[in-house]
């Protein structure tokens, strides 16, 4: 089955100071996503997860450019698309939910205007049908009294409700893929669970694929089928959520999982010592080796290759080894993360 989204060896760099300073925000990231699947991208601040998403939708900030790789969406390499072509994809085929609901909405326009826009511009819905469509969308994100609410303005709504509006906006164009960039980070803890449930239900109802960017593994456990762990611009481990949670192969993944508090477990919480590296001055060899409890001498010397641990499980670590029964399948190697 052809994947909905296939990112192959994506490289996005930030160039500043007239070319003298290059930051490899995304350095060879590959993964695939099928219809209806949910992929979680996890990592600390600055690891490149947001840049990866911005690369996919073609909205990189000035100074950033895709310098290599492919982004195959529904069969076409959208990394090569012109801005005009990308505009037709954004909102209609790929939508995005941003992190802070308090600033994501335009304060001067009504909810109806803002939610209706994708339908208006991409699907040509007008007038009364547009109003009906907006009402439908508001209902699907569980906003009570949609007819009344749609006449209101963002400042009249709470953060949780605004984030649902952002969700409605994402759905308005009937996309095939929704990228959610830390959608619950700025919400009250009590509202977070509600929102996640909503997203999960929406996904089941519409069959949309979701990329969930977060630094919170608990959310990943709840929402995602697959998981990709990023560090310093690379994916260090990728596979199904179950595999990675049960037996992580990369020391960073192990540390992340280990730092999650588990009910009933009295072991001391394990925190990762050190700081994420400065992407402009990466250490030699494996970027994680200065903080790695299992580092070997070779880790400082050379960057590890990607090891295929199982059919859909990869890790970038000198210590990682394929699972026994998978040795034979190595001959049929496919791009990482699929």
């Amino acid at each position: 089955m052809a994947a909905l989204l296939r990112v192959a060896d994506l490289q996005t760099h930030y160039v500043s100071f007239g070319g003298s300073r290059v930051v490899k925000a995304v350095d060879g990231v590959s993964f695939t996503l099928d219809d209806g699947e949910t992929l979680g991208i996890v990592g600390e601040s600055g690891c490149g997860k947001t840049t990866t998403c911005l690369s996919i939708v073609g909205l990189l900030p000035p100074g950033a450019r895709i310098v290599g790789g492919r982004i195959d969406f529904a069969g076409e390499d959208i990394a090569q698309y012109s801005p005009r072509q990308m505009r037709r994809v954004r909102g209609a085929q790929i939508a995005m939910i941003l992190q802070d609901p308090m600033v994501s909405l335009n304060p001067l326009f009504s909810i109806r205007t803002q939610v209706g826009e994708p339908a208006f511009y991409h699907r040509g819905v007008r007038g009364r049908s547009l109003r009906a469509r907006v009402g439908e969308l508001l209902r699907s994100v569980r906003i009570p009294s949609p007819a009344m609410r749609m006449r209101e303005y963002p400042h009249q709504m709470s953060g949780g409700m605004r984030q649902r509006i952002v969700g409605a906006i994402a759905l308005a164009g009937v996309p095939k893929l929704i990228i959610a960039d830390e959608p619950t980070t700025n919400l009250d803890v009590t509202i977070q669970a509600q929102y996640l449930d909503l997203l999960k239900d929406l996904q089941q109802d519409t069959g949309v694929a979701v990329i969930f960017v977060t630094h919170n593994l608990g959310i990943v456990a709840r929402m995602c089928d697959k998981l990709a762990v990023m560090y310093a611009g690379k994916i260090v481990e990728a596979g199904s959520v179950r595999d990675l949670f049960n037996a992580p192969k990369h020391p960073y993944t192990k540390a992340l999982i280990g730092s999650m508090p588990k009910l009933g477990n009295k072991d001391p919480l394990f925190a990762i010592p050190g700081q994420p590296p400065d992407l402009a001055r990466l250490p030699t060899g494996c970027a994680f080796h200065p903080r790695c409890p299992e580092a070997l001498p070779c880790c400082a010397a050379e960057e590890p290759d990607e090891v295929r641990i199982a059919a859909s499980w990869t890790a970038r670590c000198w210590r990682a080894e394929p699972l026994p029964q998978e040795h034979a399948k190595e001959a049929h190697a496919a791009p990482a993360g699929s």
Partner: protein, 306 residues
């Protein structure tokens, strides 16, 4: 995007008080990227103003002996070789008057700004630090003052008290302090919450000591940026007052009054009486503006949106 280096993040976190060492480093960095254009204009003007007596070819208030009135500058036909830039309606040398006028404009500009700055900064600090009703009163006063047309008021005051250079300085100071009050108050409000101030307060320092030792040194930067941006306004205000006849009184040369003198002859095309003084005003104000912009960007990133 979180590509922040170590030292920048320490500054962003705002936990360390501005230290003397940090200041020294900043001043050194400042010296590296000096703004050439504004300094190239300002330094000569300042020197001219300081050494006016030595530089000016003639006494600005006496007519040049043997010269006619309204003689054109030296490159125009019919000019007097003794008066490089021409003469005015009393046969006085324009060049000398311009030179001494620089002195007037710069002195009034700088001292007027100093007065405005002192009043405004003091009120701003008091309002920001003491809060409560003091803040309310000062803020309402500032709002009210800002709502009034400054120059019209200055004209009114100048008419009432009579023109003289020092009266003008005080009047301009009284009229232009409001910008300082507003901005400095904002700064003080944030400063007040910083740890090193709270530490001093907990240690029992009196308000007045905290203000002098901790708050004041930190608002100096903003005050300086504001000052450099305001000098231009004050200089133009003084020129306006002089033009209308309520500024620096004759025979003391002031660029504004020179413009007024030259107005009647403008109709017959004697352009030099108008162009030169105006050009001087423009250059000086331009230079201070550029200087202010440069200072603003270098000294205090928070003021970038001023």
């Amino acid at each position: 995007m979180a590509f922040v280096t170590g030292q920048t993040s320490a500054v962003l976190l705002g936990t360390s008080p501005p230290s003397a060492e940090g200041d020294r480093r900043r001043w050194l960095k400042l010296a590296r990227g000096l703004p050439v254009l504004p300094l190239a204009i300002l330094i000569p003007f300042v020197l001219i103003a300081l050494f006016a007596n030595a530089i000016a070819p003639y006494d600005p208030t006496d007519p040049i002996p043997g010269a006619k009135i309204f003689e054109p500058p030296f490159w125009v036909m019919g000019s007097n070789p003794h008066a490089l830039l021409g003469t005015d309606f009393q046969s006085r040398d324009i060049l000398s008057r311009l030179i001494f006028g620089a002195r007037v404009s710069l002195i009034v500009g700088v001292t007027g700004t100093l007065v405005a700055g002192s009043i405004g900064t003091t009120l701003g600090i008091l309002a920001g630090y003491l809060g409560g009703w003091v803040d309310q009163v000062i803020m309402r006063l500032t709002d009210a003052w800002l709502a009034l047309p400054a120059l019209v008021f200055a004209i009114f005051l100048a008419t009432m008290v009579g023109p003289s250079m020092w009266n003008i300085v005080i009047i301009l100071g009284l009229v232009y302090w409001t910008r300082y009050a507003r901005v400095i108050r904002g700064e003080v409000l944030t400063l007040r919450e910083r740890e090193f101030v709270k530490l001093a307060e907990i240690a029992g320092a009196s308000s007045h000591r905290v203000i002098l030792r901790h708050i004041l040194p930190n608002v100096v930067n903003s005050a300086m940026v504001l000052a450099s941006l305001t000098i231009g306004v004050v200089i133009i205000a003084e020129a306006s007052l002089s033009f209308l006849g309520v500024g620096v009184p004759p025979p003391e040369p002031a660029w504004g009054s020179m413009l007024s003198d030259g107005r009647s002859m403008l109709m017959v095309g004697d352009w030099w009486l108008t162009i030169f003084p105006g050009l001087c005003i423009m250059l000086v104000v331009l230079a201070t503006q550029l200087m202010g912009d440069w200072l603003r960007i270098r000294l205090d990133p928070q003021l970038r949106n001023l």
